[in-house]
Amino acid sequence: MQVERTSTNDLLVDKLPDGSKLIVDPKNETVFALNATAGAAWDACSGPTTLSKVAEDMQRSLDPSVTEELALQSILQLQEKKLVTTSGVPSGATRRQVFATLSAIALPVVVSLTMAEQRAHAQSAGSGGGATTSGGGATTAAATTPA
């Protein structure tokens, strides 16, 4: 299976002390949070590579017990968020597979937040209470207070 990052330019990548990663994609206006497992897979894809190579890199950087199955699941997560593209994916491979053999290594997790979603959150995040009523019978007269 061949693996390649979707974009090699413009991404802002930062590693946090717990090994997780933050990727900001200004072009697509998305922020990604990768846990350490997914982050190790991302690092392993710094150039065009293969699944087995990804697994080997993850064994070195994350944990010797990383299996090819775990590497696959990590790649699938990254692929789902359009961070990587793949070819020759083994038939039947999906994110829903369960890794009964895994122990200490966390399952790969990639969470994303688009700028549009963030804007919506920001606009709804205020100091509360709404513009209809406040405490004890007070009536607000104008919608100047944040909702």
Binding site: L16, S20, A122, G129, G135, G136, G137, A138, T139, A142
Partner: protein, 690 residues
């Protein structure tokens, strides 16, 4: 010369505005314009202040020209030897009454005579103003229907000249219509609604006997050094209770009450008693105010009036007075009501008011209003008042002033109609009490004239932040004003909330302050999160409104956490959290929020930034159990991004700040139950770092 029409006066003001106020031209022109701006009211004016004399012989009078005439003339006719050393001051307590003009005219005929009108309230304690108006070392206060024995005043002047540092009150024996000695002092006995009954001490039988100390006396004649005058409680109105009260205050000021046997005086008692009904409500009220001021047990007052009037009749009088004393307006020394119906104002504040008629200035009534405020402030200064309240308008507005404001405001307010008109043209306005707060780069100016709101604003507007000089240009002007029965909260003159009680405005107030502060943040970035500090590290509880953050924060505070905020974590570029210690807004199961200070949870308020130790993104699910899982720091950062009011696309730097914030944090997500249980779990999770 302007006409009374607006264009003429406006033009004239425009010209005057170009002339230096110190110039003769300005003075001349403004005097002409004053006469057009101010409509004369016909009431007699006060005589100018005369030259300083050794003794002022002063009396207050009410519609009593004849008695005052004979009293004044007898002083001058029978005591010519003291004419150069004494002034006569007559305070007319009914200057719109039938005697006013005649009393005023005496200023042209009687040497050293001064007429002062005063009608803002009536009562025996207007005598206090006699001391304030006197321009002399000593003041002799007498009723306006009193005659002195021959030579008594000359002896008094001579005696007082030996008393330059005295703190004493001097009185003299009362003689009867048959010229016999009728009383030298009051014995402290309750009788017919008064504390004190005349008694005779034979040491006064000889007019040449030396002075002797007495416990108290009637207030028909008394003298005191002006600087030693202890003053009456300014809340007194109506027929008062000076006897005993004043004497007690003299003694508390290290003075004595002395009877001067030579100072014999004859008092005209009206045959058949006074022509006006006795107002028991005034007496009860004044006694309770006096006893409250002197910290005396008022049981004797109650016992006497219950005995005199019957318990049923006395009870409402005491209840009304006690209600006033315990009420929110009692903190004001005096309450002034400009125009309008005094009864309406009195009902509103539950206390008597001083009635003030604003001068009529038809071209611009605001000029009259400013003149009225000015005259009130002058009175407040003259009477040494500490706090006053002004009620005016319909709906009623309140403006409060404190003694610290008096001189400053008086210096700001022009003193003539023309100068006021020019001042108003330039945007001058009467201002209410206020203070400034600078919160994270946002200058907030808070103003109110309402006592209740004032207390609330001082308590709940970012209470741990220092109050700033009000001269800073505000980014936000918060006002609370009473409009009829309601209090209105406005921000930059836009009404945002109204309520019957000031405390009920606090949630809306807190939110508008939040919004103003958050919008103006520069270096700091906000996250919608309850924040406390445990063992030097901040615990963030991100969440939307109604997520129960405040309840959980309050519970953590009760268990020893340090308060940062129940609503916003403010994160600096280094990733540290700064306190945003607004009052907590709690619901406690009610739909309405109410404010609580961290101190009420026995918690300290943070005063320095702290690193982030934990981020717990908890969903409140009361029907389920506590369940959380650790999440990576990068996911914790996304949680912060989802809970910030800033738009990432506009402020991309927030990623860096938040990244540094989560770098030292352990992050969790999950669900929680009630605040008490959640607090248990949180302390289990983080240990007990304190």
């Amino acid at each position: 010369m302007p006409d009374d029409g607006m264009p003429g006066i406006e033009y004239f003001l425009g010209v005057l505005d170009q002339i230096p106020p110190s110039s003769d031209a300005f003075g001349h022109a403004s005097r002409i314009l004053d006469s057009h701006l101010l409509r004369p009211n016909g009431a007699p004016k006060a005589s100018p202040l005369g030259p300083e004399r050794f003794l002022t012989i002063a009396m207050a009078t009410y519609d009593e020209y004849d008695a005052t005439f004979f009293t004044v003339q007898s002083i001058r006719m029978y005591n010519p030897e003291i004419a150069d050393e004494t002034a006569i001051l007559v305070l007319d307590n009914h200057p719109s009454g039938p005697s006013a003009a005649a009393l005023k005219c005496l200023e042209e005929k009687v040497k050293g005579y001064r007429y002062v009108p005063y009608d803002r309230f009536t009562g025996t304690t207007v005598k206090d103003f006699l001391f304030r108006e006197a321009n002399s070392e000593f003041v002799l206060v007498m009723d306006s229907h009193v005659l002195f024995a021959p030579g008594a005043l000359a002896k008094l002047v001579a005696f007082l000249k030996t008393q330059h540092h005295s703190k004493d009150l001097f009185q003299g024996p009362l003689i009867g219509d048959d010229q016999s000695l009728r009383g030298t002092h009051f014995d402290p006995i309750w009788s017919r609604g008064m504390h004190g009954q005349w008694g005779i001490d034979q040491r006064a039988a000889d007019p040449d006997a030396p002075p002797f100390e007495i416990p108290m006396q009637g207030m028909g004649v008394f003298a005191c050094r002006k600087q030693a005058w202890p003053g009456f409680n300014p809340r007194f109105q109506g027929f008062c209770v000076e006897e005993g009260y004043l004497h007690d205050k003299i003694r508390r000021n290290s003075g004595k009450v002395m009877c001067l046997p030579f100072l014999r005086w004859l008092h005209r008692f009206r045959p058949g008693g006074v022509p006006y009904p006795l107002n028991w409500a005034d007496r009860v009220r004044n006694y309770l105010i006096a006893y409250d001021e002197l910290r005396l047990d008022h049981a004797p007052v109650r016992e006497h009036f219950e005995s005199l009037l019957g318990a049923e009749a006395a009870r409402p009088l005491f209840e009304a007075a006690q209600r006033e004393i315990a009420g929110p307006y009692y903190g004001f020394d005096a309450i002034f009501a400009i125009d309008g119906d005094p009864a309406r104002y009195q009902e509103m504040v539950g206390a008597p008011v001083r009635r003030v008629a604003a001068p009529e200035t038809p071209w611009n009534p605001e000029i009259g209003r400013v003149l009225a405020h000015r005259s009130i402030l002058v009175e407040a200064v003259q009477q040494d008042l500490r706090r006053i309240l002004i009620l005016e308008g319909d709906p009623v507005r309140e403006i409060a002033y404190e003694s610290a404001d008096f001189e400053r405001v008086l210096a700001e307010l022009p003193d003539t109609p023309t100068k006021i008109a020019l001042w108003l043209r330039k945007g001058g306005a009467l201002q209410a009490h206020g203070f400034g707060v600078r919160a994270f780069g946002c200058n907030i100016r808070v103003e109110t004239a309402c006592l209740e709101a004032r207390t609330i604003l001082e308590r709940y507007v970012l209470p741990s932040l220092p109050r700033m000089d009000s001269s800073n240009r505000p980014d936000m002007l918060v006002r609370v004003a009473r409009v009829g029965e309601q209090l209105q909260l406005s921000v930059d003159d836009v009404v945002v909330a109204s309520a019957g009680r000031a405390i009920d405005l606090v949630p809306a107030l807190v939110r508008v302050v939040d919004e103003a502060v958050i919008q103006r943040l520069t270096g700091l970035r906000a996250v919608h999160a309850g924040t406390v500090v445990l063992g030097g590290r901040a615990l963030l509880l991100p969440g939307a409104t109604h997520a129960g953050k405040s309840s959980l924060v309050a519970e953590l505070l009760r268990r020893g956490a340090t308060y940062f905020s129940d609503e916003y974590a403010l994160i600096d570029p280094q990733g540290r959290v700064h306190p945003y210690p607004r009052p907590l807004l709690l619901r406690n199961g009610c739909p309405e929020q109410f404010p609580v200070l961290a101190g009420e949870c026995n918690a300290p308020v943070g005063d320095a930034p702290a690193p982030v130790g934990w981020i717990l993104s908890l969903d409140y699910q009361p029907a389920r159990t506590w369940a959380i899982e650790a999440v990576p720091q990068s996911e914790g950062l996304l949680t912060l991004l989802r809970n910030t009011p800033h738009v990432l696309a506009d402020l991309p730097d927030i990623v860096g700040s938040f990244q540094r914030a989560v770098a030292g944090a352990t992050c969790y997500t999950g669900r929680r139950t009630e605040a008490k249980d959640a607090a248990d779990e949180i302390f289990r999770l983080v240990g007990n770092p304190s």
